[in-house]
C-alpha cells in the first residue's frame, strides 16, 4: 500500500486503537454476543471497552508486560476474544492454540512460543495445560473462563478471568491514574509491532509460529472489508478455531475494523440452530460445511413427501439453469424470471432460511477446493457464495473472487494490494500488506519461504488462466509422476472423489508407482441414510464400509472419476486402477488428518502400509489391525478384513501422440 494511505490510517494501526475508536463511535451498538442459558446476551462496544480495560489492568497487575506471550485455548467465547485485545493493549502477544489438540501437541507450541500466561476456556483445558505445566518453563499463570469444576483446585497460580477483572477493578479504584497509563500503553503500540503468532497446523513436521504484525492484521482486515463493502451492520457467527488465521481476521480484526457484531454459538454442536437465529450477513465456512449441509438437505428431501420432492427437483433444475445469471444480474427471459420468483417463494427462500443464510450478503469458502456442483447449488439459490485462497503467511488474503467474476474452478484474482507470480516450477508466489514478518525462532524456515524482497512461496502449484484468475491444482511438493512419467496430482483426484456425497475422504497414491490407487472413507450420513432406505442393517462404520452394496456404489463413483480424468489429457494417465474402503474413519486424533481436516497423505500411507502393499501386489483383500486413539489419549485397536476392487481404465480421449 502507498505511504499516503499508511499515514492516513496511522491512528488506527492496531486493534486496541480500533477498540477505543469503536467505544466512542459505536458506543451503543452491539459488539459481541454469546448464547447463555438459551438466551443471547450481548455487549455493546462501550461495554466491551469497560470489560477489556479491567481485564488488561488486571493482567498487568499479574505481571504481563510488553512482549510477553499469552496462549489462548478454547472455543469461540467473548472473553477469549477480549483476551486478544487486552493482551495487545499491553503490547503482549496473543498465541491462539487449537483447542482440540491433545496435551502432547499443545506442549510443543506452548514451549516454543515461550508462553507466560495461558488463558483457557474451561476445566478440560485447565487440566490439559496443568498436566504439562512442568514442561513449560516460561509458564507463570493459568487463567480460565468457565469456573465449573475448578472450585477445589489450588488457586495460587490459577485465576478466573472475572477474578482478573476484579483485580483490575480494585487496582483502578485504588489508583484511577492507571487508566491513563493503560491508554498510553495502547498509544505506544505501532503497526510494526507483533500483533499475534499463529501456529500453522503443519501438514509436514512441527508447527511453525507465523508472526503477524499489527499492520498485517489491520490492513488485511480493512482490505477485506472494503472488497466486500462490509460495514458496521454486518452480522457474523464465530465458530471456526480461533487459532486459525481466517477466524482471527474475519471474526476478530474485521469486526473491530468495521465495528460489526460477532456472535459466539452456544456450543460447537448448536451452530445450525444458532446460525438460524442470528442470520449472518457475512459467513465463512470450509467446503466441508457446505458439503454437509447439502448432504443433509438431500437426505431430508429423500424422506420428504412426493409432492415436495418433485417440486424440489423441478425448481432446482430451473435454478441450475438461470439462478447464477439472476444472481449476477445477467439477462434472463421474463418467463424464467417469473418462474424463479415462484421457486424463490416455494423452495429457495425456505431453503435459505433452513440454512440460516436468508440475510447473507457474502459467504466465503476456502481451505480446500469445493465441488463445482456444491458451489453452484448455493449460488443458484441466490446466495452470494465465493471462494478465496488464503494462507496464514499472507494474513489470510491471497486471492478472492470479485462479485460478477465467479468461476467454480478458480479461486479468483489477487486480493487488494497483493501481487502474484508463478515460479518456474509452477509454484504460486505472493507479496502484499498481510505478508508475515517471519516464523518465530525459525530463521531457516523463514529464509526458505520468504525471499529477501518479500515474496512468499505458497507451496501450492497453480497457474493463472486467461481470465486472470488463479487456479490451484495441488501442493507443489505433492505433484508427482507415475512410473511411466504421467503427471500425478493426488489432491486433484481426491477432490473429484470427495465431490460425491458418499465419499467423505480419499487418499490417492501413485507417485513413483505403476498406477494410481485410492483408499476411501465413506460418508456415514449419506451412506447410512441409503442403508436405512434399503434395509441394510449395520452396527458400525466398519461394517457398513465393508458391505458389498456399498462397495458397488463407490465403484460407480470411482468409475465416473476415471471417465472425467480420461477427458483431461494432462491427468488422464493417473486414472484410478484399484481402490479400497478403509475400515476406520480417518481422524485428527490419530494424526491422520490435520486439525483443519486435511488428509496427511504420507502419514496415512505409512500407517496403512499393509493396505498400500496389498493395493499394489494384486491381492483381493487384506487383514489389518490398526491402533486408534480416543479423545482422552487412550488407545485401542481395530481389526478388519478390507476388500480391494479393480477398476476399468478408459482410453485417453484426446490423442496422446498429439501431446508428445
Amino acid at each position: 500500500m502507498s505511504d499516503g494511505a499508511r499515514a492516513a490510517n496511522h491512528t488506527h494501526d492496531t486493534v486496541p486503537k480500533l477498540l477505543l475508536r469503536n467505544a466512542k463511535q459505536y458506543a451503543d451498538r452491539p459488539a459481541i454476543r454469546e448464547k447463555d442459558l438459551g438466551i443471547w446476551q450481548s455487549w455493546t462496544w462501550a461495554e466491551v471497552y469497560e470489560e477489556v480495560r479491567l481485564y488488561a489492568i488486571g493482567l498487568a497487575k499479574l505481571g504481563l508486560r510488553r512482549g510477553d506471550k499469552v496462549a489462548i485455548v478454547g472455543d469461540n467465547r467473548p472473553r477469549l476474544y477480549w483476551t486478544f485485545v487486552a493482551a495487545q493493549s499491553l503490547g503482549a502477544i496473543p498465541v491462539p492454540v487449537y483447542q482440540d489438540s491433545v496435551a502432547d501437541e499443545m506442549v510443543y507450541v506452548l514451549q516454543h512460543a515461550d508462553i507466560m500466561f495461558a488463558v483457557v476456556e474451561d476445566q478440560e483445558q485447565v487440566d490439559k495445560v496443568l498436566s504439562v505445566a512442568e514442561q513449560i518453563a516460561s509458564l507463570k499463570k493459568v487463567i480460565y473462563d468457565d469456573p465449573r469444576g475448578l472450585k477445589e483446585y489450588d488457586h495460587t497460580d490459577l485465576h478466573s478471568i472475572s477474578d482478573v477483572q476484579g483485580v483490575g477493578k480494585s487496582e483502578l479504584s485504588a489508583n484511577p491514574g492507571l487508566e491513563r497509563e493503560w491508554l498510553d500503553q495502547i498509544a505506544q503500540g505501532t503497526g510494526d509491532d507483533i500483533a499475534v503468532m499463529l501456529y500453522t497446523s503443519g501438514t509436514t513436521g512441527k508447527p511453525k509460529g507465523v508472526v503477524l504484525t499489527n499492520e498485517n492484521v489491520v490492513i488485511s482486515a480493512r482490505n477485506g472489508n472494503a472488497f466486500d463493502k462490509l460495514d458496521v451492520n454486518e452480522e457474523m457467527i464465530a465458530y471456526l478455531p480461533m487459532a486459525w488465521v481466517g477466524d482471527h481476521i474475519f471474526s476478530y480484526a474485521q469486526s473491530y475494523e468495521a465495528g460489526f457484531c460477532v456472535s459466539c454459538p452456544e456450543s460447537p454442536e448448536t451452530i445450525g440452530v444458532d446460525r438460524r437465529e442470528i442470520g449472518p450477513t457475512y459467513f465463512f465456512a470450509p467446503p466441508r460445511v457446505y458439503e454437509n449441509a447439502l448432504t443433509q438437505i438431500s437426505v431430508q428431501m429423500e424422506d420428504a413427501s412426493k409432492i415436495k420432492r418433485s417440486m424440489f427437483a423441478y425448481f432446482m433444475k430451473l435454478a441450475r439453469r438461470v439462478g447464477e445469471d439472476i444472481l449476477v444480474g445477467n439477462s434472463v427471459s421474463f418467463a424464467d424470471r417469473v418462474l424463479y420468483k415462484l421457486g424463490d417463494f416455494l423452495v429457495y427462500g425456505p431453503l435459505r432460511n433452513h440454512l440460516g443464510l436468508t440475510r447473507l450478503k457474502v459467504g466465503y469458502t476456502a481451505g480446500e477446493a469445493i465441488g463445482p456442483e456444491i458451489f453452484q447449488f448455493y449460488r443458484s439459490l441466490g446466495l452470494n457464495v465465493k471462494q478465496l485462497y488464503g494462507q496464514t503467511e499472507a494474513g489470510v488474503y491471497v486471492t478472492m473472487q470479485p462479485d460478477g467474476e465467479i468461476f467454480p474452478d478458480t479461486v479468483g484474482v489477487a486480493a487488494p494490494d497483493v501481487e502474484l507470480q508463478i515460479a518456474e516450477n509452477g509454484e504460486v508466489m505472493f507479496r502484499g500488506p498481510g505478508t508475515f514478518k517471519q516464523y518465530f525462532k525459525n530463521d531457516e524456515a523463514t529464509a526458505e519461504t520468504k525471499t529477501p524482497d518479500g515474496w512468499v512461496h505458497s507451496g501450492d502449484a497453480g497457474f493463472i488462466d486467461d481470465r486472470g484468475h488463479l487456479k490451484i491444482i495441488d501442493r507443489a511438493k505433492d505433484v508427482g509422476k507415475l512410473r511411466d512419467g504421467s503427471l500425478f496430482a493426488p489432491k486433484y483426484i481426491e477432490n473429484k472423489l470427495k465431490f460425491f456425497p458418499n465419499v467423505q475422504e480419499a487418499v490417492a497414491l501413485g507417485d513413483g508407482r505403476d498406477f494410481c490407487a485410492v483408499m476411501l472413507n465413506i460418508d456415514l450420513t449419506a451412506v447410512g441414510n441409503w442403508a436405512e432406505r434399503n434395509n441394510v442393517s449395520y452396527a458400525s462404520y466398519q461394517e457398513l464400509a465393508a458391505h458389498p452394496d456399498v462397495y458397488k456404489m463407490i465403484e460407480e463413483n470411482v468409475d465416473q472419476v476415471n471417465r472425467t480424468l480420461a477427458g483431461e489429457p494432462n491427468v488422464a494417465g493417473s486414472q484410478i486402477k484399484r481402490f479400497l474402503i478403509l475400515h476406520k474413519e480417518l481422524d485428527a486424533d490419530d494424526g491422520e488428518l490435520t486439525r483443519t481436516q486435511k488428509v496427511r497423505r504420507s502419514f496415512i500411507a505409512d500407517r496403512y502400509s499393509p493396505l498400500v502393499e496389498a493395493l499394489y501386489d494384486g491381492s483381493d483383500e487384506k487383514h489389518i489391525t490398526t491402533e486408534m486413539t480416543f479423545e482422552d489419549g487412550r488407545r485401542g485397536e481395530i481389526t478388519g478384513q478390507v476388500k480391494i476392487v479393480d477398476m476399468k481404465l478408459y482410453p485417453v480421449e484426446t490423442l496422446k501422440e498429439a501431446a508428445e
Binding site: L37, K140, D154, T270
Partner: protein, 280 residues
C-alpha cells in the same frame, strides 16, 4: 512453573478433591437398619444395614440378582421392607410412597431409561420441576400472573441443567430420537431438576461406550462437587465404582458381605469370592 495441581489431571476420572471431608466426619443422612425384603418365598434382601453420609458418593455393587435395585427401591419408598427401619434425617419411616420420597429430596434414575419419549429434552427435564411448582393449576393453564413468573424461574433452572450437562444441541429434540447415551444424560437432568438432596442412580453407565462413560463419570463428580448432592449409585463397571465412590456396599444374594472404602472392599475375600466364585 511453580503451579501445584491440587487434583489429578487425568481427563478420565479425576480423583475427588483432597480438600473434602473424609466420609466418617460427615453426618448420616440415611440410615438403613436390619432391612429384610421378600417377595413370597424369594428373599431379595436379608438383614442389611448400612448408612449414607451427607455429600458422599456411595456405591452399591454386587453380582446379578444381589438385590441392588431392590435396595434402591426400598430407599425411595417403592418397596416396603417386611423388617427393619429406614431413617431419613433422623426420622424413622416405614411406609413411604415414592412421591413422598421425592418431595423429601430423593430423586432417582432408572436402569432402563424411563423418559417421555415424545417430549423434547427441555420438557422432560421441566417435568422434573413439577413438584416445585406452587402456583394454581388454573393460572398455569392460562399462563398468567404468578404462574408466568414461576415458569420463568423454573425454565432458568432447567437451562442451567442443560448447560451443566452440555445438552444444548438437543434442547428441542424429542427424546425418542436420541441415542441411548444421551437419553441417560437427559434422565439424569430430570432427576437433577428436582434439586435432590440424595440422588439414586441405577446403573447410570450401563450400555455406554467408553467416551459416554467418561462423560457420565464427570457429570456425577461435578454434581457431587458443585451441588453437594449425596449420591448412591449402582454400577457394574468396577473401574468406575472404584474411581468415583467414597464408600462401597457389597451385596450378594440379598446379604451384605462388605462395606468400606473402595480399597478395603477390593481386598475383601468375601467380595472376591462373590465375584469370582469359590471352589467347593
Amino acid at each position: 512453573m511453580t503451579m501445584d495441581a491440587a487434583v489429578d489431571t487425568g481427563a478420565v476420572n479425576p480423583d475427588p478433591p483432597t480438600a473434602r471431608l473424609s466420609s466418617d466426619q460427615r453426618p448420616v443422612v440415611l440410615d438403613v437398619k436390619n432391612v429384610s425384603l421378600s417377595f413370597g418365598g424369594v428373599k431379595a434382601i436379608q438383614d442389611v444395614s448400612f448408612d449414607i453420609r451427607k455429600g458422599e458418593v456411595r456405591a452399591i455393587i454386587g453380582p446379578n440378582g444381589a438385590g441392588k435395585t431392590s435396595m434402591l427401591n426400598v430407599i425411595n419408598g417403592f418397596y416396603h421392607p417386611q423388617h427393619g427401619t429406614i431413617t431419613w434425617h433422623g426420622q424413622e419411616r416405614k411406609q413411604m410412597r415414592p412421591h413422598i420420597a421425592a418431595t423429601q429430596g430423593i430423586a432417582r434414575t432408572f436402569q432402563n431409561v424411563a423418559l417421555f419419549q415424545g417430549m423434547s429434552t427441555l420438557d422432560n427435564i421441566m417435568s422434573g420441576r413439577s413438584l416445585k411448582m406452587k402456583s394454581n393449576f388454573l393460572f398455569q393453564l392460562i399462563h398468567y400472573g404468578p404462574a408466568r413468573n414461576e415458569e420463568i424461574e423454573h425454565r432458568r433452572k432447567v437451562e442451567e441443567i442443560i448447560d451443566f450437562l452440555e445438552i444444548q444441541a438437543i434442547r428441542r429434540t424429542p427424546v425418542g430420537r436420541l441415542p441411548y447415551g444421551l437419553k441417560k444424560r437427559v434422565e439424569l437432568g430430570r432427576a437433577l431438576a428436582m434439586e435432590p438432596e440424595l440422588l439414586l442412580l441405577d446403573e447410570p453407565m450401563a450400555g455406554m461406550n467408553l467416551e459416554e462413560k467418561e462423560d457420565m463419570s464427570r457429570f456425577i463428580i461435578d454434581v457431587n462437587d458443585q451441588f453437594g448432592t449425596t449420591i448412591a449409585l449402582i454400577e457394574h463397571d468396577m473401574g468406575v465404582v472404584m474411581d468415583l465412590s467414597d464408600r462401597v456396599v457389597v451385596l450378594d444374594h440379598g446379604e451384605l458381605i462388605a462395606d468400606g472404602t473402595p480399597n478395603e472392599v477390593q481386598a475383601n475375600q468375601n467380595v472376591i469370592d462373590a465375584y469370582l466364585g469359590v471352589a467347593h
